[in-house]
């Protein structure tokens, strides 16, 4: 691939303003919906956002395929993706932090452990409540429930995600050897594993709601369980969709042994959701 000598700076960007309008409509619509309004504005905003992304990414793909990006532009993309993933790590850190805080500090304090007013708080407000994990709080919000076991679905999901990490790596080696067919095949396997994971997760949620009485409203356990696994599941869905498009582009003949950053960015993202899942599996399901 020949590289142009100057850094590519597009003359104008038509899509960002569309993206801003889309997000504005989406957020206003979502907030109104939460306050009892309709969902139409929210859906319109989301649709416009998706349209914007298709068009914007389309421009970038066309430019990339026609060789307008130099090595230096490529480095910018790599840095951007890297630090975007770091920002995602920090987003999950907030929810992991909430889990650790509830388990290490606020739970024991509510049951009277620790210095200061904890014993008095327990005696006056929640007399007789003993901390254990999982719990739905001294008021037992959401009523009787059962814990989500790590066996069999979550351990299966762990295997599925780990396997998908292997398949995506095989696909990566394939494109580095310019073996397009092999790449597409192994990417297909990765995408399939990704959606299988999401399906298992959906079934797990069904189980939780239908048979375990485990809900968002099941105190702090339900809150942390659903928010952590839910945001993770959302990211897996996104990652699988991204990999799906990478696969479709591969089928169309995009990418080469030396130029396939979209593939690599998607793979980085996929490994990121993989690692988050390992954290979840240990701290949400097992410990």
């Amino acid at each position: 691939m020949s590289s142009p000598s100057s850094y590519y700076i597009p003359h104008e960007a038509k899509w960002p303003i569309v993206g801003s309008i889309a997000l504005f409509v989406f957020f206003m619509g979502f907030a109104s919906f939460l306050n009892g309004g309709g969902w139409i504005a929210m859906a319109l905003g989301a649709a416009l956002l998706i349209y914007m992304m298709v068009m914007w990414f389309g421009d970038v793909i066309r430019e990339s395929e026609s060789g307008m990006y130099s090595k230096q532009v490529d480095v910018s993309f790599r840095m951007a993706m890297m630090w975007f993933i770091f920002s995602e790590v920090m987003f999950f850190a907030a929810f992991f932090g909430a889990l650790f805080y509830a388990r290490q500090f606020s739970g024991p304090w509510l049951s009277g452990a620790g210095e200061g007013g904890a014993a008095a708080t327990n005696a006056v407000l929640w007399s007789g409540w003993d901390y254990a994990w999982p719990n739905n709080g001294p008021a037992e919000l959401g009523g009787e429930y059962n814990k989500m076991s790590w066996f069999p679905l979550p351990i299966m999901n762990t295997m599925i995600l780990l396997a998908s990490g292997v398949t995506v790596t095989i696909a990566h080696h394939a494109i580095k050897e310019d073996n397009r067919q092999k790449m597409v095949k192994w990417l297909l396997a990765t995408v399939a594993l990704g959606f299988l994971f999401v399906a298992c997760q959906a079934f797990e949620y069904y189980e939780a709601y239908a048979h375990l009485n485990l809900k968002m409203g099941t105190g702090i356990y339900g809150s942390t369980f659903f928010m952590l696994t839910g945001f993770h599941g959302f990211h897996v869905t996104m990652g699988a969709i991204i990999l799906l498009f990478v696969m479709l582009r591969g089928r169309k003949g995009h990418f080469s042994a030396t130029n396939h950053f979209a593939f690599e960015a998607a793979a980085w993202y996929w490994h990121f959701v993989d690692v988050v899942w390992l954290g979840l599996f240990i701290f949400v399901y097992i410990l």
């Binding site: 020949s2 142009p4 100057s6 850094y7 700076i9 597009p10 003359h11 104008e12 960007a13 038509k14 899509w15 960002p16 993206g19 801003s20 997000l23 504005f24 957020f27 206003m28 979502f30 907030a31 939460l34 306050n35 430019e63 026609s66 307008m68 480095v75 910018s76 840095m79 951007a80 630090w83 975007f84 770091f86 920002s87 920090m90 987003f91 850190a93 907030a94 929810f95 932090g97 909430a98 805080y101 606020s106 304090w109 509510l110 620790g114 200061g116 929640w126 719990n135 739905n136 709080g137 001294p138 008021a139 919000l141 968002m216 409203g217 105190g219 702090i220 339900g222 809150s223 928010m227």
Partner: protein
């Protein structure tokens, strides 16, 4: 790939700005986007300032006179949100956009289209935020920190406020990623890291702070949203959560945020003082290390905002000492600025006046910060006007003065015209007098026990509150002088030379004034 298509799309980079208004909407030029950010910040400065004047008008006398208490509370909340997210942060990003590519000898920002989106999110995000003021039940009134459970008990505005924060957060994270990529990837050959101007260094570190903590804020407000609308109990003790947990997560964002609001200011002051002292900056390397130390420490001091909410003693001690440790690198900086001026051939043009004003008054705010860092003392000061005095001294003559200084310093480069020096100096002196009339008495009423965020107060605080309100209106209206000077400078005036300032050093002073639409398409030679 075929080179034919590549050549067809390849642009020659010698075009100027596109004609018409759509230039500003579609632009990918770092100078255009920088201008948009700065103008946006200026407009929001007057909106946020108007809210401050409503607060001060109500506090002119004891008793409830002008606005009802709920509206007063939403004014204190919105004033903070607007000034932090709508004024100081976008103004710094605007300066980064204008200056960083020129300072490092790069052709533009690394990701120009993303840059456009980072800006064009801002007006829409603030439309979401400000729309709450016109809703039934009014705007958010629980304070900008949105502490649960109070924030959860407000009206319909909560969801809008939370989404506005998410919306701005997207802009901040994208903008910061762009700045990191620009600084690491767009430097001219020979511009090593330790040759970069301090403004570039401080922004690099600020960008990392933003990427690290804005998502944490997003997480915190998302938990608020689910607690309110989806039945979760992160911040409810009945469900095994804890309202104090919100404060921990919020301030894990909030304290680095404080440094996000001041580190770029340090970079600006470190550019201006050497110019007007006509000496190189004293202790460049120590400035870089001090900035990095401040950024690191900012992650381990957050609970000093929470000394009175209940925390193990070991926690209070740790956060007290960690907080006091920040005064060491900050002291290094103040020392270096003073040492730079020592035996310099000083002149006092408007940027230098604002820089020296920054140095003196920011230090006052820093010293009252040290008082607040002492846990047992803070238990007295907490939630009083002393705290208000403290953070306004670091934010107004700190962050805002640095932005004013930067504007006066670089506006000849932006417009090609010199600003009106006489009116610039008048702006500085009038602002500085009124600012101290406004904020200094807050130390007194605060130490005497006047609580913050309350529309009424006890009789003994009446005199100093009246004085502060006079200062507030004086300070607010004197900012119209700034608008006048900027407007006049854009319209015309004495032509600026390439160097602009006699003692100025840096790549931005090697390009003509006004700076051409595209600078450094071929990298400059770095000494």
């Amino acid at each position: 790939m075929s080179t034919a298509t590549a050549d067809h799309h390849d642009h020659d980079d010698h075009h100027g700005p596109a004609p018409g208004l759509m230039r500003w909407v579609y632009t990918t030029n770092h100078k255009d986007i920088g201008t948009l950010y700065l103008l946006f910040a200026l407009v929001m400065f007057f909106i946020g300032g108007g809210m401050a004047l409503i607060i001060r008008a109500e506090l002119f006398q004891p008793g409830l006179q002008i606005v009802d208490p709920l509206f007063f509370n939403s004014m204190t909340t919105m004033h903070a949100l607007v000034m932090i997210f709508g004024v100081v942060m976008p103004a710094f990003v605007g300066l980064a956009n204008w200056m960083i590519p020129m300072m490092i000898g790069g052709p533009d920002m690394a990701l120009p289209r993303l840059n456009n989106w980072s800006f064009w999110i801002m007006p829409f995000a603030f439309a979401v935020l400000l729309s709450t003021l016109f809703m039934e039940g009014g705007g958010p009134a629980g304070g900008w920190t949105l502490y649960a459970p109070l924030s959860l008990q407000g009206g319909d505005n909560l969801a809008f406020v939370i989404f506005a924060i998410h919306f701005m957060g997207i802009s901040s994270v994208m903008g910061s990623i762009n700045i990191v990529a620009t600084i690491f990837n767009m430097r001219a050959p020979g511009m090593t890291l330790m040759k970069m101007p301090l403004f570039v260094w401080t922004w690099l570190i600020t960008a990392y702070l933003l990427i690290a903590v804005i998502p944490v804020l997003a997480g915190a407000v998302t938990m608020l949203l689910t607690d309110r609308y989806f039945d979760t109990s992160f911040f409810s003790a009945a469900g095994g959560g804890d309202p104090v947990m919100f404060q921990h997560i919020f301030w894990f964002f909030g304290h680095p945020e404080v440094y996000i609001l001041i580190l770029p200011a340090f970079g600006i002051i470190s550019s201006i003082i050497p110019t007007f002292a006509r000496k190189p900056l004293f202790g460049y390397a120590s400035m870089v290390y001090a900035t990095a130390s401040i950024a690191f420490l900012s992650f381990i001091v957050w609970a000093h905002h929470m000394f009175t909410v209940g925390m193990p003693l070991a926690g209070e001690m740790f956060f007290m000492f960690a907080t006091m440790m920040i005064s060491v690198p900050t002291g290094v900086k103040v020392f270096n600025w003073i040492a730079t001026m020592w035996r310099g051939s000083m002149t006092f043009e408007t940027p230098m006046l604002f820089a020296i004003g920054f140095l003196v008054m920011f230090t006052i705010g820093g010293l009252s910060g040290l008082m607040l860092a002492i846990t047992p003392a803070d238990i007295q000061y907490h939630d009083t006007y002393f705290v208000v005095a403290h953070f306004h001294y670091v934010l107004v003559p700190g962050a805002i003065y640095s932005i004013m200084a930067a504007t006066y310093y670089w506006i000849p480069k932006w417009t090609g015209n010199m600003y009106d020096e006489k009116w610039g100096k008048i702006h500085f002196w009038v602002s500085t007098v009124f600012l101290n009339v406004l904020f200094f008495p807050m130390h007194f009423v605060g130490l005497a026990g006047m609580p913050r965020r309350i529309p009424d107060y006890s009789m003994q605080f009446a005199d100093w509150n009246a004085v502060a309100t006079i200062g507030a209106f004086g300070f607010g209206f004197s900012q119209l002088i700034f608008v006048y000077v900027v407007y006049k400078c854009i319209k015309g005036g004495e032509k600026a030379t390439t160097e602009v300032w006699e003692g100025a050093d840096g790549l931005e002073w090697t390009v003509p004034s006004p700076a051409p639409y595209h600078t450094f398409e071929t990298p400059p030679a770095i000494r």
